[in-house]
């Protein structure tokens, strides 16, 4: 049986030979593939791992929760509110974007402008990026949307966080507001959070001065994205650190009372604890609603704020500069007594005017006050008396005394935008006008006119210093985060005690002695009596013609030209605890609305007595449940 012929045998041998060669080739190719794997995975593995990571992991910032701001009793003045909003994810809107937005428009009102904005945002983003249709919805709107949601594809309700100022205008100048970071903000601050869409930073007030503490630090969310940039899942999340909560020295109830009392006046009021300098109320009217800036102020609203002649955007309490007028007289008296320029017994005869060089300096009282000593000089606010005091003291003495009472420099309150005011002196005049100081100008300075400019807060500080005999300075921040700064022991006011006593006696007389300029509006409740000093500041130069014809009565002038009404006070007289300053721009001086306001406020604050009440201490501020902070 011929199984193999010889030829078949030889081809079998050839096949085997060639198969072995083929096998070798296969082995070699597999070897090369193995080497290539080694090169890719072992030698260059780290590089490729990095590339894969870059490919698939996207790092996103998570905005930290902004710290809240409380008053001294734990009332939330600035907080974070749930922002109910509705978003659209274009690629998920199966019936089309227009259809989806129309449907939403049937549930909540959308203007044509809203629609334009939405369509623009959608066009500028990728199809899977959520775009805001509407935010700051009410709970009812939000609930209705959620009810309809099953029928709306691509529409996504969402709860974000937004800043909220529950008391609106009342605290606008203290708290300031938050708004989106501007280009220049982003250049000066390298925090990447600023570039986050929708992120808000403090633009004014405490929100600005404590921006760093309130902001907290950014969290980081590492998300896995696919090749198209769509987020697949969150890999890790570091929520960052929420901003520190801040406790102010303010008493919200008092603030409310003060602002309501100020009414429609263009007015600034400060109320302080004379022992510590804690600012209990600080208001400037009119204010503005800080919530407007957060959600985006309209052109019309912004223009309205700018055009208002009562200047709602300016914080008059800190940055309004006014000639102090007669409210400056306690400072001049104190300086003169302390320097020995006068004694409490020093007296002049007021005939209604004082001739000095070529000028005649008038007293506010045409007929004159007659015999005036220091006490009467203060209680009846005799200008001629203080012209004489000023002459004896000299501008250098006035300047030094005023500085010691806190004028001419910032008080250092923790709110940005405070101005220093002006206490004129020889050097100051030389530097400002390049001219020599004139003796006549000393007389003007002695009654708080001329170059002297002060802020309402400085006036309140002066009042507090006289009342307490201590070198108090206003402060409004009590606690930031967990720790309050220890309060340094306050040094005594650098004036002789006898001088302070004499001035206090005069200020007591202003309100509590018949003939005192504020007697008609004093606090009559026993034990609550206030001491104070009235003042008015001329806004216009009184012309020569007017001098001759007699000065026009203030009330008959147009609002803009009327004098400012000022009043500084403290109470109770016996053991002062509260100081107050009131400045009413172009106020009706005849009725002394400034004194009336101070009277009501000082009576209210004494009866409420916020300093004696235990303030809330932020024991559970950070680290614990933040919703429990209100004690």
């Amino acid at each position: 049986m011929p199984l193999f012929d010889r030829k078949d045998k030889s081809r079998y041998a050839a096949f085997t030979r060639r198969t072995l060669m083929t096998g070798g080739a296969i082995g070699a190719v597999l070897g090369v593939l193995g080497v290539r794997l080694y090169q890719l995975q072992i030698l260059e593995g780290d590089q490729f791992r990095t590339k894969a990571e870059e490919n698939s992991v996207s790092v996103r910032l998570v905005a930290p929760l902004r710290g809240r701001i409380f008053d001294r009793f734990g009332v939330e003045l600035a907080t974070n509110r749930r922002n109910y909003r509705v978003l659209i994810i274009p690629e998920q809107a199966l019936e089309g974007v227009d259809e989806a937005i129309d449907t939403v428009g049937k549930i909540i009102l959308l203007s044509d402008r809203d629609r334009d904005r939405i369509m623009r945002d959608i066009a500028n983003n990728k199809k899977f990026v959520a775009t805001t249709i509407a935010e700051n919805l009410t709970w009812e709107q939000f609930a209705r949307l959620n009810l309809h949601l099953p029928y709306l594809s691509g529409i996504q309700p969402d709860v974000g966080q937004t800043r909220d100022y529950p008391f609106g205008e009342e605290l606008s100048h203290v708290l300031g507001y938050v708004a989106a970071a501007s280009q220049s903000d982003q250049q000066s601050d390298s925090d990447p959070l600023l570039a986050l869409p929708g992120f808000r930073i403090g633009k004014r007030g405490i929100e600005k001065s404590l921006e760093k503490e309130l902001r907290g630090s950014a969290g980081v969310s590492r998300v896995e994205v696919n090749a198209y940039g769509r987020v697949i899942r969150e890999l890790s999340r570091d929520s960052g650190a929420p901003g520190d909560d801040v406790w102010l020295t303010l008493d919200r109830d008092l603030q409310k009372f003060v602002v309501e009392r100020m009414g429609d006046e263009s007015c600034a009021i400060a109320v302080m604890d004379v022992a510590t300098g804690d600012v209990l109320a600080l208001a400037s009217t009119p204010g503005y609603d800080p919530n407007l800036f957060n959600v985006g102020i309209t052109q019309a609203e912004w223009k309205g704020l700018l055009d208002n002649d009562h200047r709602p955007l300016s914080d008059k309490a800190l940055s309004g500069l006014y000639p102090p007028g007669s409210t400056f007289k306690p400072a001049v008296a104190l300086a003169a007594l302390d320097a020995g320029a006068i004694t409490p017994q020093f007296a002049v005869n007021c005939s209604g005017s004082l001739a000095f060089g070529n000028y005649v300096f008038h007293c506010w009282k045409k007929g004159g006050h007659g015999h005036v000593d220091l006490h009467r000089g203060i209680t009846q606010s005799c200008d001629v008396f203080f012209y004489n005091v000023a002459r004896r003291l000299g501008i250098d003495g006035i300047e030094a005394g005023a500085h010691r009472l806190g004028f001419g420099k910032q008080t250092g309150i923790e709110i940005p935008g405070e101005r220093a005011g002006v206490i004129p002196g020889r050097a100051w005049k030389e530097a400002t006008f390049g001219a020599k100081w004139l003796e006549g100008e000393t007389l003007n300075a002695g009654i708080g006119q001329g170059y002297v400019l002060v802020t309402p807060l400085q006036l309140c500080t002066m009042s507090a210093r006289i009342a307490s005999g201590k070198l108090v300075s206003p402060r409004i921040i009590r606690v930031v985060g967990k720790e309050g700064e220890p309060r340094p022991e306050l040094p005594p006011l650098p004036f002789a005690q006898s001088a302070i006593d004499a001035v206090r006696s005069g200020m007591n007389g202003v309100a509590n002695e018949p003939g005192g300029t504020a007697f008609g509006w004093r606090i009559t409740e026993p034990g609550f009596e206030m001491a104070g000093k009235t003042g008015s500041a001329q806004v216009r130069k009184i012309s020569l013609a007017e001098h001759l014809a007699g000065v026009t009565k203030n009330e008959k002038l147009p609002w803009k030209l009327r004098d400012h009404a000022l009043f500084v006070a403290y109470a109770p007289v016996a053991a002062p605890r509260y100081a107050c300053s009131v400045v009413i721009e172009h106020g009706r001086i005849g009725q002394h609305p400034d004194v009336q306001m101070a009277r009501d406020i000082l009576l209210y604050v004494q009866q409420r007595d916020p300093v004696k009440r235990s303030a809330s201490w932020p024991v559970n501020a950070a680290g614990l449940d933040r919703d429990m902070t209100r004690l």
Binding site: P2, L3, F4, D5, K7, D8, S10, R11, Y12, A14, F15, T16, R18, T19, T22, G23, I26, G27, V29, L30, L33, G34, R36, L37, Y38, L40, Q41, I42, E44, G45, D46, Q47, F48, R49, K51, A52, E53, N55, S56, V57, E224, V225, N226, A227, Y228, I232
Partner: protein, 382 residues
């Protein structure tokens, strides 16, 4: 006389033949296919659907097909070799005429509910037909010009048709299969060496005849960074996927590249990258090692066969399997241009799975019938 000799004379029952099946090879194939299922499962983000479950179903069908093919007498396959080739060739022509345009290429032919890819059929048919033709030639005859010319026509004609579809990858494999068989049949070095020289010299000429997209692939391959987000995307992302696996990989279902769609066609042609990413160097080399053992079994089966037809078929199937692996692995590792060649048993795809399993069936048939002696003049039996 051995039992197998008796078998060759009288034939035995199919249950007896089952015992003769190369079970270790079958087990190995199942293990490799299971790795494929795992990768399909992983790339779906840890889900059986849409890929793993259908792939398992196809493998089950392929498994039965393999056994059925294995049990068919090798003489039947000898007899069917030319008809199969003829049918495949006609289908290739048909695809050219009425071909269904899919993926930008005419590759599919729909006959009733069936979608067939004649180029896949041709790979098997060519191995069978060429083995049969060479089986009938004595060693000296192989190198005779008129005999060689017939063999070359059998190889080049279908390759040309497939290239025209256009399907460069499959055409390359058809050519490689064919020339390999000529080489194994003992073609004289006097033919081989000048031919290799000629091919090298003809590369610039061939370039001229390539499709634009084929040229683009070659250019992209040579300079992937020129087009990192366009056509170079596949290559660079595949390298990143494999490379980022490192030594031990990112872990099962933890590959980011493949799962997050950075790789187009991740589950088909680029499935091997997912393995490299998730199981690292260890896993990639292990799979190559399993493939190597499969090929070792293939070569053993070939050399143990007592018929030239059996030997050539076994080697043809083994090499076909090898060319798939080589081209696919080299492609995803950025060593050769991107061509649409799947990784056998790993990549997702029905036709490829069935073709591979049918091929293994033939290899198994050679093994089962290894003692069957076929005279050179035998035309087989049906």
């Amino acid at each position: 006389m051995t039992t197998s000799y008796v078998m060759s004379r009288r034939g035995v029952g199919w249950t007896d033949k089952l015992l003769l099946v190369h079970w270790p090879l079958l087990l190995l194939i199942t293990v490799i296919a299971s790795i494929g299922f795992a990768m399909q499962y992983s790339m779906a983000g840890g889900h059986l659907y849409p890929w793993a479950a259908p792939q398992i179903m196809r493998f089950a069908v392929g498994f039965v097909l393999l056994l059925a093919v294995a049990l068919v007498d090798i003489r039947v396959w000898l007899a069917l070799a030319y008809p199969a080739y003829l049918i495949s060739f006609l289908l290739l022509v048909a695809v050219e005429i009425v071909g269904h345009v899919g993926l930008g290429a005419q590759r599919w032919l729909e006959i009733g509910p069936l979608q067939i890819q004649p180029s896949e059929l041709m790979k098997i048919s060519l191995v069978l037909a060429l083995a049969r033709y060479l089986h009938g030639l004595a060693l000296d005859d192989v190198s005779k010009p008129h005999r060689l010319a017939v063999a070359l026509i059998m190889i080049v004609l279908p390759a040309a048709l497939v290239l025209k579809e256009p399907n460069l990858g499959t055409a390359t494999i058809i050519l490689a299969d064919g020339f390999s068989l000529l080489f194994l049949a003992g073609l004289s070095w006097w033919w081989i060496l000048p031919a290799v020289g000629g091919v090298v010299g003809a590369v610039p000429v061939a370039w001229h005849f390539l499709h634009d997209y084929q040229k683009q692939r070659v250019l992209t391959f040579l300079h992937p960074q020129n087009d990192a987000l366009g056509a170079g995307w596949n290559i660079s992302q595949a390298e990143i996927a494999i490379g980022s696996g490192g030594l031990a990989g990112k872990g099962f279902v933890h590959g980011t590249q493949s799962r997050l769609n950075f790789l187009p066609e991740k589950n088909t042609d680029f499935a091997y990258t997912a393995l490299g990413e998730e199981f690292g160097f260890v896993g990639s080399v292990a799979l190559l090692a399993l493939f190597a053992i499969v090929m070792y079994f293939g070569v053993r089966i070939a050399t143990q066969s007592r018929s030239q037809f059996g030997r050539l078929v076994a080697m043809g199937i083994t090499l076909n399997f090898f060319f798939y692996i080589m081209i696919n692995a080299a492609m995803v590792m950025g060593m050769i241009p991107v061509v649409g060649i799947p990784m056998p048993l790993i990549s997702y795809g029905g036709t490829a799975m069935l073709t591979v399993m049918f091929g293994f069936g033939l290899l198994m048939s050679v093994h089962v019938h290894r003692h069957v002696e076929l005279p050179r003049s035998s035309g087989g039996i049906i």
